[in-house]
C-alpha cells in the first residue's frame, strides 16, 4: 500500500497503510523530527501538527484520511538561519528546557496566531491548555507566543 500526503507544500507518496497514524509517517517516512511521540492517546500535544491550518494530534490521525489536505509541521515554518517569527521568539525567550513538547506548543500557537494575531495572555494560556510541559517552561512559552504576536504586528 502507499498513500499520498501534502506536507509543508510538497506532495509525498509513502509506503504505509492508510490507518497508519500520521505521526509515524512524518517521523519515519519523511524524517521530520518536529512532531513527537508523547502518549499516542491525544492527551499531551507533543505530536501536534496543522492540517489545513487546524491543530491535530498526529498520533491518532490516520494518514490515509487526509487526502489533499495541507499538512504543516514545525519544519515548514522556518530554519535556524531564517526562523519564522514564532521560532525566533522561542529562541529569544530561551523558551525550552528539554524541549520535547516545544514543537507541539509552537504548532498550537501558530494556529492561534493565525486566527487571532494579537491574543491576550489568558487566550494564549487557554489555547495551550491541552499541550503538556513537564519542565515548567510554561511562562517562557507564553512570553514567546506573545512576543511573536507583537513582532507580527510590527511587520
Amino acid at each position: 500500500m502507499s498513500i499520498s500526503l501534502k506536507v509543508n507544500g510538497t506532495t509525498h507518496s509513502v509506503p504505509a497503510e492508510p490507518d497508519t497514524p500520521l505521526l509515524y509517517v512524518l517521523r519515519n517516512d519523511l524524517a521530520l523530527n518536529g512532531a513527537k511521540f508523547g502518549c499516542g492517546l491525544a492527551q499531551c500535544g507533543a505530536c501536534t501538527v496543522l492540517v489545513d491550518g487546524q491543530p491535530v494530534r498526529s498520533c491518532v490521525t490516520p494518514a490515509g484520511t487526509l487526502g489533499s489536505s495541507e499538512i504543516t509541521t514545525i519544519e515548514g515554518l522556518g530554519t535556524i538561519a531564517q526562523p519564522h517569527p514564532l521560532q525566533k521568539a522561542f529562541m529569544d525567550e530561551q523558551a525550552a528546557q528539554c524541549g520535547y513538547c516545544i514543537a507541539g506548543m509552537m504548532m498550537t500557537a501558530k494556529s492561534l496566531l493565525d486566527s487571532n494575531p494579537h491574543p491576550s495572555e489568558a487566550q494564549v494560556r487557554d489555547a495551550l491548555s491541552a499541550n503538556l510541559c513537564r519542565c515548567g517552561t510554561h511562562n517562557r512559552i507564553v512570553r514567546a507566543v506573545l512576543r511573536a504576536a507583537n513582532s507580527n504586528g510590527r511587520t
Binding site: N28, M91, Q94, A96, G136, H138
Partner: protein
C-alpha cells in the same frame, strides 16, 4: 552535545585533532605515586587531554562526562571552558557522555554538574591555556608574562602573534593536571556570568535532530516491549508464531519473562506489541498493598534506623510553665517522573560489540550494568549519550537501553530503536518513594528549644550506579536473571530519604532519625530532590505551625532561629520582593506562605513566597503567584539559572497540587495523563525570581533547589488562607473539601 546522528565517524575518536589517542586513565606510572587530591571531577579523571584538545583550526574540543537533560548544563560548561581558554563560545565544541570518549563523571544528578564537572573543566582549561602560553613564549622568544591572549590568539608586546592552531602541534596535553594553575578572577569574566543562549535550543525549535528519538540510521528497525501485569509476574505462555507472521515483524524475542518484538515499521511494532499483550499469559505474582493504607503498610515493613543528627541540650531546659510540646505527622505519596516523551534507546550489535545511544544520566554505570546483564565485557559495550525528553531523575532511560540491546541482539548488524509506550513509562518507571515524616518540638519563651524529627522512606537511589546488582528492569526477568542491588541510603550530609531532614536552623537541641524501609512494594528510585521535597515540606510546614503556636510572624520566626547569613539574605530578599507583611490576615480562601531551604544543606539557597486561592466549593487550590530569591553562589548563566528555578517552582506546584501515583492491589493504575494529571498552562503560577550573585563564592547547582521551598510555601499559604493545616500531599480537591468540611 552529541548530535543524534550515526556515521562511521562517530565510531572513531579522530576528528582531525592533534591528540588522537587520548587518555582516560593516568596510566601506571603515575598510578604508583601517591596522588594529591584534585578538585571536582578532575580527581578521578586527571589527564588534561581527557578534558580538552586543541584542534589545528584553533578551536577546542571539550569532553565532559556530564550530560544535557534539558537543564542547559552543556552550554554552561562550554561557557566555563571558553572563558578560561580565552576562546569565543563558537570555537568550543562539546562532546558529552560517551564511554569511548569522555571522562567518567558518574551520573548527571544531584545538581552537581557545575560544582564537580565545572570545577574540573575550569582548572583543566586554565592549565591548558598556560601550556599554550608557554609554547607561544618559546615560539615568540618572549617572556610568558608579557604575552596577551584574546580569542585564541597570543600576542607579544611588539605585536607579533601566534594562534592556538599554530602551536597546537607543539603542546602535549597527555599529562596529569596539576590543578595548580589559578583560574581567572571572576571580575575579569566576559562569558561566565552572562546569559548566553543555549546551544541546544535552535534545533529544538526548528525540527532539527535533537533527541535519541530522532535517530534513524540506515537499516534501522523498530522495537517494542511487553511488560507484565505486575512487578513479579512471570510469563507462562505466548503465541509467538502468529505474531511473527504479522506484517513487517522481523523477530519476536522471548528470554525468560522478557518479551519484545522487532519490526520494519514503528506502527507494525506497536501492532505486534498489542497482539503479544493479548496473547501472553502471566502469573500474577504478589499483589500490591492496599493504597488506602499505604503509609501504615510502609511503616510496618522492616527498616534500618540511623540517627543522622543529634545535638543534646547544653542545659536541658526545665519544663517551664510556658513550655509547649507540639507534634505533627506529614506524608507524601508515590510520585512519577512522568517525562513527556517515553524513554527511548537505539542499540546495535555488531561483531560481538554493542553500541547503545541513550538518554541515561550515567553512561558509564549503564555500561557496567548492561555488560553484566547481557554477559558481556565492559570493553565490548559502548554507551553514547544523546538527549531525550526531560527525565527529572531516574526514569525509564536506563531500562529501555537494556530492552533495546536485548532486541538488537536478535537482529545482529541492524540498529533497533525502542521507545516505551505511554503506559510502559507510567507503569514501570521507578517512582519517588512515598514517605512519612514525624515532627515533634518544644516551644519555650516563644522559641524552639527542642526538635525531634523522624523520616520513613524507601531508598531514593536504585540507579545502575548502585553497587552489587543490576538495576535494569529487563535483567530481573531474563532466563539468566540478575538481581537488583540491595537498597541503601545515601549518607549525610547530602542524604537520600533524609535529604534536608536536618534543619539548617539553630535549635539548642535536636535529634533527627532516618528510617530506611528496605522492602519496596512499588518500584522506586531517584526522583528530582530525592527526600528533600518531602522533608522541606514537613520541616517548613512544622515551623509555621510552631510560629502560629508562638504567635509569631513566620518570616520573623525563621530569622530568629537562623544564623546562616546567606540563608537570612534570601529570606529577607523574598519577603521584600513579595511585599510580605507580618500582620497580613489570611482567610476568605486567600493566603500566602513562605518556604526556605539550602538544598542538601550544602548547595543553593532558595526562599519562596507563594500566594494561594482556595475554592471551597470545588476544593480546587490555585497558586496565582510565586516569588523566589536565590543564592547559587557565582552565577555561570543567569538566564539558565532563572530557567531552572522557574521550572522547579512550576514542577513543584504540579507535584503539590495534583500528583500521586494511583495503584490497586492488581497493579499500577496511573497509566496515562488522565490517571496522572499534571499542572496545565492556565494553572501555572506567575513566577518572579531574584538572583543574588556572589561572584566570589563557589558556583552551586540549582536544578533541585526550588522544589522544597515551593511545596512548603504553598502548604503554608493554604493554612494561612483557610485556617486549616493539610499535612498530606497532594493538596487535591477531595482532600481539601474534606478538610474544609
Amino acid at each position: 552535545m552529541n548530535a543524534p546522528m550515526i556515521s562511521r565517524r562517530t565510531f572513531t575518536a579522530g576528528m582531525g585533532a592533534i591528540v588522537v589517542a587520548f587518555s582516560l586513565d593516568p596510566g601506571t606510572a603515575v598510578a604508583q605515586q601517591a596522588r594529591a587530591k584534585l578538585p571536582g571531577s578532575l580527581d578521578k579523571n586527571r589527564m588534561l587531554d581527557a578534558w580538552i584538545r586543541i584542534d589545528r583550526d584553533g578551536s577546542a574540543t571539550v569532553f565532559t562526562g556530564k550530560v544535557e537533560l534539558g537543564q542547559g548544563i552543556v552550554t554552561a560548561l562550554a561557557q566555563i571552558a571558553a572563558e578560561e581558554l580565552d576562546l569565543p563560545l563558537a570555537r568550543v565544541h562539546m562532546i558529552s557522555g560517551d564511554t569511548a570518549r569522555t571522562p567518567n563523571e558518574g551520573v548527571t544528578s544531584g545538581s552537581q554538574s557545575i560544582e564537580y564537572g565545572g570545577t574540573a573543566l575550569r582548572l583543566a582549561a586554565a592549565e591548558v591555556r598556560s601550556i599554550l602560553i608557554a609554547a607561544a613564549a618559546q615560539k615568540l622568544a618572549a617572556a610568558p608574562d608579557t604575552l596577551k591572549v584574546a580569542d585564541g590568539t597570543i600576542s607579544a608586546a611588539d605585536g607579533r602573534k601566534v594562534t592556538y592552531g599554530e602551536i597546537a602541534g607543539a603542546i602535549d596535553l597527555k599529562r596529569e593536571a596539576s590543578g595548580k594553575v589559578a583560574p581567572k578572577p571572576a571580575s575579569t569574566h566576559t562569558i561566565v556570568g552572562t546569559p548566553v543562549r543555549r546551544l541546544d535550543i535552535p534545533n529544538k525549535v526548528t525540527g532539527g535532530a535533537a533527541y535519541v528519538q530522532d535517530m534513524r540510521p540506515a537499516g534501522m528497525l523498530h522495537g517494542r516491549v511487553v511488560r507484565p501485569p505486575r512487578y513479579a509476574s512471570t510469563l507462562i505462555d505466548v503465541d509467538q508464531p502468529s505474531v511473527k507472521g504479522m506484517p513487517g515483524v522481523v523477530a519476536v524475542v522471548r528470554d525468560g519473562s522478557f518479551l519484545g518484538v522487532v519490526a520494519e515499521r514503528e506502527e507494525q511494532a506497536i501492532a505486534a506489541r498489542a497482539a503479544l499483550i493479548k496473547s501472553a499469559k502471566w502469573t500474577l505474582g504478589p499483589a500490591l498493598p492496599d493504597p488506602d493504607k499505604i503509609y501504615d503498610y510502609l511503616l510496618s515493613l522492616p527498616a534500618e534506623a540511623k540517627v543522622v543528627s543529634e545535638k543534646p541540650a547544653a542545659e536541658p531546659a526545665a519544663p517551664g510553665a510556658d513550655h509547649k510540646v507540639i507534634e505533627a505527622t506529614y506524608r507524601r505519596p508515590y510520585m512519577a517522573h512522568a517525562s513527556i516523551g517515553p524513554s527511548c534507546a537505539l542499540a546495535q550489535v555488531d561483531g560481538g560489540k554493542l553500541t547503545v545511544w541513550t538518554h541515561s544520566q550515567g553512561v558509564f554505570p549503564l555500561r557496567g550494568n548492561l555488560a553484566v546483564g547481557l554477559g558481556m565485557k565492559d570493553d565490548d559495550v559502548r554507551c553514547v549519550h544523546v538527549e531525550g525528553s526531560g527525565c527529572y531523575g531516574h526514569n525509564g532511560a536506563d531500562d529501555v537501553a537494556l530492552d533495546a540491546a536485548l532486541l538488537a541482539r536478535a537482529v545482529p548488524g541492524r540498529p533497533v530503536k525502542v521507545q516505551w509506550m505511554r503506559d510502559d513509562e507510567f507503569g514501570w518507571e521507578p517512582f519517588g518513594s512515598a514517605m512519612v515524616m514525624r515532627a515533634k518540638a518544644t516551644l519555650g519563651g516563644g522559641r524552639i528549644v527542642d526538635w525531634n524529627y523522624e523520616v520513613f522512606s524507601n531508598t531514593h537511589s536504585m540507579r545502575p550506579s548502585e553497587p552489587g546488582g543490576v538495576n535494569l528492569l529487563a535483567a530481573w526477568s531474563l532466563a539468566d536473571s540478575k538481581k537488583p542491588a540491595a537498597p541503601r541510603s545515601i549518607p549525610q550530609p547530602a542524604g537520600g530519604g533524609d535529604r534536608n531532614a536536618v534543619p539548617l536552623y539553630d535549635f539548642p537541641s535536636q535529634r533527627v532519625v532516618n528510617h530506611l524501609i528496605t522492602a519496596m512494594p512499588l518500584r522506586v528510585s531517584a526522583l528530582r530532590t530525592l527526600g528533600a521535597y518531602a522533608n522541606v515540606f514537613a520541616l517548613e510546614s512544622f515551623l509555621d505551625e510552631l510560629a502560629l503556636a508562638a504567635n509569631a510572624d513566620p518570616v520573623a520566626f525563621r530569622l530568629a532561629h537562623l544564623r546562616d547569613p546567606r540563608g537570612r539574605a534570601v529570606i529577607e530578599a523574598v519577603a521584600k520582593k513579595a511585599g510580605w507583611q507580618a500582620d497580613q490576615r489570611g482567610g476568605d480562601g486567600k493566603g500566602r506562605g513562605i518556604g526556605f531551604a539550602k538544598y542538601k544543606n550544602l548547595s543553593t539557597y532558595v526562599a519562596v513566597i507563594a500566594d494561594v486561592e482556595v475554592d471551597r466549593a470545588s476544593g480546587v487550590v490555585r497558586v496565582p503567584r510565586a516569588v523566589a530569591a536565590v543564592d547559587a553562589g557565582q552565577i555561570i548563566n543567569p538566564n539558565g539559572l532563572m530557567n531552572q528555578i522557574e521550572g522547579g517552582i512550576i514542577q513543584s506546584t504540579s507535584w503539590t497540587l495534583k500528583e500521586q501515583v494511583r495503584f490497586t492491589p492488581d497493579g499500577i493504575t496511573s497509566r496515562d495523563w488522565e490517571s496522572y494529571p499534571i499542572l496545565t498552562m492556565p494553572e501555572v503560577p506567575h513566577v518572579e525570581v531574584e538572583l543574588i550573585d556572589r561572584p566570589t563564592e563557589r558556583s552551586l547547582g540549582a536544578g533541585e533547589a526550588a522544589q522544597g521551598p515551593t511545596v512548603a510555601a504553598i502548604a503554608n499559604a493554604f493554612a494561612h488562607a483557610t485556617g486549616r493545616r493539610l499535612r498530606d500531599l497532594p493538596l487535591g480537591p477531595a482532600r481539601v473539601k474534606a478538610a474544609l468540611g
